[in-house]
């Protein structure tokens, strides 16, 4: 197990270098960052050249990358063009997005798995068909539609929630945005759990558990669920990375100043340092999530642990 973790950590190095380099190059082709600074007017060539020199933009790209990475490892993500430290932006944006992700994941676990178990055990009954239909709708409708609709109905028409989240972004204000963010994954979790439960319900070891005279709830939770949740846990784990980075739409709708919001602003303003910085951290989050999922897999399934 220990050696496996070490090997996986080592494998993360080339992935990390490759993906950050790619981002770095892509942001570079995005356009001249200096041009964006001067707004609509043409920049004064002398000022532009000076700024270029100041930010090290006159050096070749690979050298820029090396300098940048060197700085990143000392905790310096650079300064945005407006003079704000990127780390400062991160320290306000990440806690908000992490809270939002926690809400979304919890909703996925609580609602998704419950619905999945209920429908999986009652396959073909009205409950099952109904839930299945709803999940299909949720998957088909884009997040911005569900988001705006909920905002309009719950926030504006009925006044149940604040239509836009305050800058402190406490947990209770994040419930509806969290639901919107989780919606598609939630539908997938429901379907995945349902299929997995329905499949394992007919399995021999469940039959054995029944033949042992175990109470029904024990058969379901201890025998059926333990086995059926292996693919679901994998999905949810991998989804954490997606949710952290993919909150752009949801954060825009509910005016949440999190990672997605900052990224969006950074791209819009061609703020290279912000974009690269945030994406670098997201890459790390993503890699760590995947590692945790793989380790979790081994914890849940002894056949993998001892293989």
């Amino acid at each position: 197990m220990g050696r496996y973790v070490v090997r996986r950590l080592l494998q993360m190095i080339p992935v990390f270098i490759g993906s950050t380099l790619l981002i770095f190059l892509m942001v570079n082709v995005m356009g001249d960052p200096i041009a964006g600074l001067c707004g609509d007017r043409q920049c004064d060539p002398a000022t532009a050249a000076q700024l270029r020199k100041e930010f090290g933009l006159d050096k070749p790209v690979w050298q820029q990358y090396l300098t940048y990475m060197g700085n990143v490892f000392t905790g310096d993500f650079g300064t945005a063009f407006n003079g704000q430290e990127v780390t400062e932006l991160m320290s306000t944006a990440f806690p908000v997005t992490i809270r939002l992700t926690i809400v979304a994941i919890l909703l996925q676990i609580i609602i998704g798995i419950t619905l999945g178990v209920v429908t999986g055990l009652r396959r073909g009954r009205p409950v099952d068909t109904g839930v299945l239909l709803v999940t299909l709708v949720v998957i088909s409708v884009p997040t911005f539609v569900t988001g705006l609709l909920l905002q309009l109905l719950l926030g504006v028409e009925w006044g149940w929630i604040r239509p836009s989240v305050s800058s402190a972004a406490p947990f209770d204000e994040l419930i509806v945005p969290g639901l919107v963010l989780a919606s598609v994954s939630l539908a997938y979790v429901t379907r995945l759990t349902r299929t997995s439960i329905a499949e394992n319900r007919r399995s021999d070891y469940v039959r054995t558990a029944i033949a042992k005279g175990l109470p029904r709830h024990r058969v379901v939770t201890r025998h059926l669920l333990r086995n059926s949740l292996i693919p679901v846990v994998t999905f949810i784990g991998a989804d954490i990375g997606f949710l952290m980075g993919g909150a752009i739409v949801t954060e825009r709708i509910f005016n949440i100043h999190g990672v997605g919001y900052q990224l969006y602003q950074g791209i819009l303003r061609q703020n290279t340092q912000t974009v690269v910085g945030f994406v670098t951290v997201l890459v790390l989050v993503f890699l760590l999530c995947n590692l945790v999922v793989d380790l979790l897999y081994a914890v849940l399934d002894p056949r993998i642990r001892y293989a």
Binding site: R202, A211, K212, G213, D301, P302, R303
Partner: protein, 327 residues
């Protein structure tokens, strides 16, 4: 009688129609007795056992008639909660494929101990000790260490021993073994079968052994019930049936056993295929494959005739049992 199945009917409702899997089965087992239930796949032998255990998939399965008397109580009239307490504690089942029948993500100790935790209210620690004891009983070496292992870390024979240990855990009055050795290597089959027979003697349990292996039956069974298309077609003490079968289907089965003294000759096989359970032939279900079939077989369902030519308690569901017995 420990267990008595009377006129049991089970059918499965599927999209293609109703499959009549069990059509009026009667059999009984006494304490300390071994009944072998013999038959091809689809003959209803496993379905009957599952109905007795109360683990039939319902739906699509449905018990449409009959009684299952166990220690004098009709199990089919019990509430599910009472029925559950009978399962595992008073009657237990051993399944064919131990690998898929054991939970892959729980240790064998947990799965064995669970019986004591649920039915006897023991603590996990005491249950673990009981599990080790059971594994010793079924002669699994190094039980103390292996109790923490998972099913996939055991060999096929050892896994089936764990299944046996699990069935024996609460010393039930009846054990149903559904083809317990089919998934095992031939060399291991005999060991497992011997162990099962020995433990049955020791605990004086009734045993229903479901099999299609006639070789296994001869050694361990007291009596045999042969099933075909969801009915018992012949029942008899084990030695009588080997000496002279009273049903052409049993005769066909016995003739299909490869024999060393008939080297070089083509193996005998019963001609035709087992009947489609959605469309069982009228009259005697076996008539399309029977060498003795007459017109009456195509119209009249033969009852289980008492075989009067024998001292033993025998029955045959063949209009021409006498011809078969002496022919």
């Amino acid at each position: 009688m420990l267990l008595e199945v009377r006129d049991l009917h089970v059918e499965f409702r599927t999209r293609d129609g109703v499959a009549k899997a069990v059509n009026g089965v009667d059999y009984g087992v006494d304490a300390g007795e071994t009944l072998a239930v013999l038959g091809e796949s689809g003959s209803g032998k496993s379905v009957t056992a599952q109905a007795v255990m109360g683990i039939l998939d319902m739906p699509p399965g449905r018990i449409t008639g009959g009684e299952i008397l166990f220690q004098g109580r009709d199990l089919l009239r019990l509430k599910e909660e009472e029925r559950r307490k009978v399962r595992g504690a008073e009657m237990a089942m051993i399944f064919q494929d131990a690998l898929s029948s054991l939970n892959p993500v729980l240790t064998v100790g947990d799965q064995l101990g669970e019986m004591f935790v649920v039915h006897r209210g023991m603590s996990r620690k005491d249950a673990r000790a009981k599990a080790v004891e059971l594994m010793d009983r079924v002669r699994i070496p190094a039980a103390k260490e292996r109790v923490r292992q998972y099913p996939h870390q055991f060999s096929g024979g050892m896994r089936q021993r764990i299944m046996i240990a699990m069935a024996l855990a609460l010393e039930p009055a009846l054990i149903i073994a559904d083809e317990p050795t089919t998934a095992l290597d031939v060399t291991v089959q005999a060991q497992v079968m011997e162990l099962l027979a020995e433990l049955r003697r020791e605990y004086r349990m009734g045993l229903i052994l479901i099999t299609h292996d006639l070789g296994v039956v001869a050694d361990v069974a007291d009596k045999i019930a042969v099933m075909y298309a969801g009915r018992i077609v012949e029942s008899a003490p084990v030695h009588d049936i080997y000496k002279a079968p009273a049903h052409p289907y049993t005769r066909g089965l016995l003739d299909s056993i490869p024999r060393l003294d008939q080297k070089g000759r083509q193996l005998y096989a019963i001609k035709g295929l087992p009947p489609n359970l959605m469309d069982i032939p009228p009259g005697c279900a076996f008539h399309p494959r029977c060498p003795l079939a007459q017109d009456v077989c195509r119209t009249d369902v033969p009852p289980l005739y008492e075989v009067t030519d024998s001292d033993a308690d025998r029955g045959s569901a063949c209009h021409f049992w006498r011809e078969c017995l002496h022919g």
